[in-house]
């Protein structure tokens, strides 16, 4: 091998470091783009597979319950189920994106490529969460496109649909980031997913209205922030929900604020990243 660094200009050596303050948009954009490329390059696994899973849920549940359950007047069960499935996919995939990206980087060691750079905790947070939001929305859109043929849906308020989809995916993207920071092995991410995210999603009214539950379980459901995400999202389609969408919005926004504060604090402190 011949190495001839004749083009390495001497005047560059020792040059003053560029003064960078505040928010590095280019750094943020690069990390965001890298996160997008990461899931885009394995799109079959990260986008197509969850769409297929949701389609199977729809086929099975609608076949079994279509003629037996009416949750809202004039809304057939399949139509009721569909927004729930879309939101469930959005939430689960947002979580999967940020958590799997970080834990993979930590375990393979390539997280140093980010930690060595001038990126601040804010840029890392924004890039990871925004990429998670985008993956969640892409999977959600995919599930919607594939399943929308099975029911007649109305769009009472598209703004609420988009707002709850974005806020919900941001919350789960942030939770994924927290899980990725905390976890030191894949097992721990799986535990976070199976013992927190999955039960909270299934008990959020994706498949039923919480009003159909006994009082104790209704009260318990109201303590679950996932319920407000799904309920608010569904309101955007039907104009009907278990809770007023304004209240759901406040709960969801507050949840995002708390989760973001925790994630930013962990990133700033270097917890389990900068040892």
């Amino acid at each position: 091998m011949e190495l001839d660094p004749s083009d390495v200009p001497g005047e560059r050596a020792g040059a003053a470091s560029p003064a960078v303050a505040g928010f590095s948009w280019q750094g943020f954009y690069t990390l965001f783009r890298k996160e997008l490329l990461r899931f885009y390059k394995v799109g079959f696994q990260t986008i197509a597979a969850p769409v297929l899973t949701s389609l199977l849920y729809l086929l099975i549940f609608s076949h079994v319950l279509e003629e037996r359950v009416e949750v809202y007047r004039d809304v057939r069960y399949t139509a009721f189920l569909l927004p729930g499935l879309v939101m469930m996919s959005v939430l689960q995939n947002s979580f999967a994106n940020s958590s799997s990206s970080l834990i993979q980087s930590k375990i393979t060691g390539n997280v140093v490529f980010v930690l060595l750079t001038p990126l601040s905790h804010r840029e890392m947070y924004a890039a990871a969460v925004l990429a998670a939001v985008l993956r969640g929305l892409m999977v959600g859109a995919g599930v919607f496109l594939v399943t929308a043929w099975f029911a007649r849906l109305s769009f009472h308020s598209p703004a609420w649909i988009l707002l709850f989809a974005v806020l919900g995916s941001a919350i789960l993207g942030t939770m994924g980031l927290i899980a990725g920071i905390w976890a030191e092995k894949f097992d721990q991410i799986a535990a976070f997913q199976n013992f927190i995210v999955m039960p909270a999603t299934f008990l959020s009214g994706v498949f039923y209205s919480v009003k159909s539950l006994p009082p104790f379980w209704q009260t318990l459901s109201h303590l679950n922030p996932f319920f407000y995400m799904v309920d608010g999202f569904r309101y955007g389609f039907f104009g009907v929900s278990d809770i007023a969408p304004g209240i759901s919005f406040v709960v969801v926004a507050a949840t995002l604020a708390v989760a973001s504060a925790v994630a930013l604090r962990l990133l700033a402190s270097g917890y389990r990243l900068r040892l």
Binding site: S17, L37, P118, R274
Partner: protein
Amino acid sequence: MTAPAIDVRSVVKRYGAFEALRGVSLAIEQGEFFGLLGPNGAGKTSLISIVAGLSRATSGKVEVMGHDVVDDFRAARHALGVVPQELVFDPFFTVRETLEISSGYYGIRRNDDWIDEILENLDLRSKAGENMRALSGGMKRRVLVAQALVHRPPVIVLDEPTAGVDVELRQGLWNFVRRLNRDGHTIVLTTHYLEEAEELCGRIAMLKQGSIVALDRTESLLHRYAGARLQLRLSGAPLPAALASLRIAEGPAPAPAGIETLRIDRYADLESVLATLREAGCTIDEMDLQRTDLEEVFVRLMKETR
């Protein structure tokens, strides 16, 4: 007065009860080729990790080109390029994508010309479009070097860069790094190959159990332990008692019968050693005389500071 390239002041690093660094202070001037040596667990990687921001010091301060690595971390990391010890890579990307992403992290948008130059200089141009997974270990090591250079840092830290790489790459890499140093870059090197450190580094710090046990110019270190190692194969009579104090062990196993290794402080002492052997009736079947090298300095220092 220009700031040191790296200024380490009273740095302590504890992992629970274990103290990895015990108040280390060290200033590496701009333009130096500096070696950081020590046995495994001496604290070299802990120190480099703190300089690079991968780890936080329990107490003490570190500056890179005058920028505090915690309070002014952006400027400090802009000034620093680190080649990590572990052979890590991102399996999702090609070599060029990897370098473009690394550039972007430093706020550099269009870096194609410089990336092409680095690829050329590290003999990676033909691999630019290949996925990182497809590269050999040596090629991956070159990409790590390239990543450390994408933002043209004035200070470059190489943590065991030649561990497990072939001779060809090692030579090529050192030629390249020497050139960078001549062009004004400060180079900090950790290595287990002491002959490399002796050949390349102008100044050396030796760490042991979290403390610096030697910090001097390479020549001064060698001079401090000036002298030679004399290896003999004797027959006729055993080594006389008068020379027993000069005997040094060459390894954990006992030397074969008749083989003796002695240390002499000055070449002038050689004559009296040979005279003593002659008077004792020893016949010298073979003789080898070697000047003190860094490895011997290292071994002696590590023993002396036990």
